[in-house]
Amino acid sequence: MKKFLRRKSTIALAMALPLIVVIASLVIYPAFYSVYLATLNKSMERFVGLGNFSFLFKRETFWMVVKQSVIFAVSAVLFKALIGFFVAHCVHNVPAKGQRKWRGMLLVPWVIPPAMSTLAWLWLFDPSYSAFNWLFERIGIAPVPWLGDPYWARFAVILVNVWVGAPFFMIMYLAALKSVPEQLYEAAAIDGANWWQKMWYVTLPMMRNIIAITALFSLIVTFANFDIVRVLTAGGPVDQTHVFATYAFNLGIQSNDIPLGACVSLFMLPILAVAAIFLLRDIGRRGNEA
């Protein structure tokens, strides 16, 4: 018994146990509970199996939400990655003395709770009192219906998501850049590699795993986004900015159809699981090659 208690694995398990209990009660239990809810009828009195899903698949609005969620998540992650990559390089090239200040300032959008920062964006886009439109008026540009027109509204929610999320990419890429051994660049320089070739043959291969993990993580978080869309547009106009989470809230809580809301939120699961399998398999394969 004493030997068992002294084992490193036993101690590790004992120390991790509180966290495991928290995760089990706040993540795993609700996840299984939502699966259970998704199999009930609207009044939650009868088991209907996959009936809610088959109902949902026949709804035009649901497929519009699927399309919008994909557009929202993919475009936001793409722009966050591009901007994060560019800014990480800029910061990497700032002399070490001033770099901390820049890193701190650039992280601000990511650190502020999104519900709060989105409120500030709401005032900038406000239908009647948009600060952007006020500026436009002064320089003779016609006001833009930021949140009233479906296309501008989609642009607005993606823009805010990119603004909030790009610093995360920046900091991850910056860490990856700092871990690339300087000797590799020196060797490439001796071989006569130009800036682009160093980037393509040294930097990107060394950052591949970080890029993949960051993209996967961000894709999951962006697909599950709720606060930005909820605060800015609440899914409007005419449902054209709804994503899975806001649509699920609208159906489940506001329309009193919890099973259907649970179905919408669970629809994300297979999409993200497939994405995770592909990305993680690729990372694992490269790890084995190394």
Binding site: R59, E60, P127, L147, G148, A234, N250
Partner: protein
């Protein structure tokens, strides 16, 4: 030396003594009660409710705990849903409009309280009964706190100058409406006034978004024209001449509204009026109350009055509130006692007073308080706020069965139809087909 042991003999003696001892009423002899009330918009309204509850708790010797739950971010709805799921939480909870019926199987029927109140103070409006009474049973006590009407609130000066309508003559302070003028206050007259005010640079601010104010205004327009998407039996009736006429009407109206009304939320119309940009909105007097503080010159020109009349009548948007007792409550007797106390005339008058006239008592006999005639400026601005005369107190979505109407309301089917037909430029038949398909989905049981 006495023994410190507690033997069988002593236990029996103590038990016997306890059984014949007189009942001693402690400070909380009637147990405890937890209540979740809606966090009122109007400053001071919560204090009025707290005072009444404290008086009741002291009298009834109940340990009372009150939480005020905001509806911002739908926190009240989330609380209702989570407590219903967990079968645990407050004993009594405020339930806005649709959410008493939604929790029918989790709520203690309160027929005894409501029937007595009806006998005392008269009937409730049809809208209050439509949502609060299901399968012949009252699920919640119709509450004063939070209950509101959403008729027009217009600018006296702008209406007179640009639309040629004297609001204070049509709906005079302290007197019944001028019948001739009020009869002329129709949705067609509304459209003409909207056009004139738009031309003058003060458009009406009627939201066409996806939140409650927009759904309520659209509901009144549709109902006044006789357009109901679903009838009382649950049949889809959207494909009708009345729907087509209403959409055509909305197409004309939308061109005189601010171009961004499709993105408006419940705060947008208030801001529109308070800023002085608009001549009219449809809202409870919260906009006026805020204008008194933020823009007194505008507040002095505001007048709350009934909705226009349509071919089918004068439909006045209404949001009722209920106080529901969960079936899992452990102190239902105390809960019923509290709700009865809060529904008595003197308590209701104090609640209305504390809300500055915002709250509308649900029972017809409790709408004669002086406050609506007295508050201002301008004096009498709320005199015609409580429903009276030819007004049909209406909940957008009625007469459809509540389970269907809830979804029509929460998913803003009416304003989406208007947006598709006007902003989206979709053909009428396509819009009606889309609405039909949505409504079929809402029939799911």
């Amino acid at each position: 030396m006495t023994s410190g042991t507690f033997d069988r003999r002593r236990f029996l003696a103590a038990a016997a003594a306890a059984s014949v001892a007189p009942y001693v009423r402690t400070s909380h002899a009637a147990g405890s009660l937890t209540v979740g009330f809606w966090d009122h918009w109007v400053p001071g309204a919560n204090a009025g409710l707290t005072k009444l509850c404290s008086e009741w708790a002291a009298k009834e010797k109940v340990d009372l705990k009150i939480d005020f739950i905001t509806s911002q971010g739908q926190k009240l709805l989330l609380t209702i849903t989570s407590e219903a799921q967990a079968k645990s939480g407050h004993d009594v909870l405020s339930l806005p409009s649709w959410y008493a019926a939604a929790q029918a199987k989790n709520l203690e029927p309160v027929d005894d309280i409501v029937q007595t109140l009806i006998a005392q103070y008269g009937a409730t409006g049809a809208g209050v009964e439509y949502l609060g009474k299901q399968d012949g049973h009252w699920l919640g006590v119709p509450a004063t706190a939070g209950a509101q009407m959403k008729g027009p609130c217009g600018r006296i000066d702008l209406f007179k100058e640009h639309a040629g309508i004297e609001l204070t003559k049509m709906y005079p302070p302290g007197a019944p409406p001028d019948k001739t003028l009020a009869d002329k206050w129709t949705w067609d007259a509304f459209l003409t006034a909207a056009q004139k005010c738009h031309k003058a640079g003060f458009p009406f601010g009627i939201g066409m978004g996806q939140t409650a104010d927009s759904a309520d205004s659209a509901g009144a327009i549709f109902a006044a024209h006789g357009a109901h998407l679903v009838d009382a039996k649950g049949n889809i009736t959207v494909n009708s001449d009345a729907t087509r006429q209403t959409l055509e009407y909305c197409k004309k109206l939308v061109q005189f509204l601010p171009p961004d009304v499709f993105a408006w939320d419940d705060a947008s119309n208030n801001k529109w009026l308070i800023s002085g940009k608009g001549a009219l909105i449809m809202n409870p007097p919260s906009a006026w109350a805020v204008a008194k503080r933020d823009n007194p010159k505008v507040a002095e020109q505001l007048w709350t009055f009934p909705s226009p009349k349509g071919p089918q009548g004068r439909y006045q948007p209404n949001i009722p509130f209920y106080w529901g007792i969960w079936k899992f409550s452990k102190n239902k007797a105390a809960a019923k006692s509290l709700l009865t106390y809060l529904s008595q005339r003197s308590a209701v008058e104090q609640l209305v007073q504390a809300s500055g006239g915002y709250d509308i008592p649900p029972f017809a006999g409790l709408r004669d308080f002086k406050i609506w005639a007295e508050v201002g400026p301008p004096k009498g601005t709320l005199y015609h706020y409580p429903p009276s005369g030819d007004q049909i107190v209406y909940m957008s979505g009625a007469p459809a069965p509540v389970a269907i109407a809830t979804q029509m309301y929460a998913q803003a089917t009416l304003t989406k139809m208007i947006a598709k037909f006007t902003q989206g430029g979709e053909p009428m038949d396509k819009v009606i087909a889309w609405a039909s398909s949505e409504l079929e989905g809402f029939m799911r049981v």
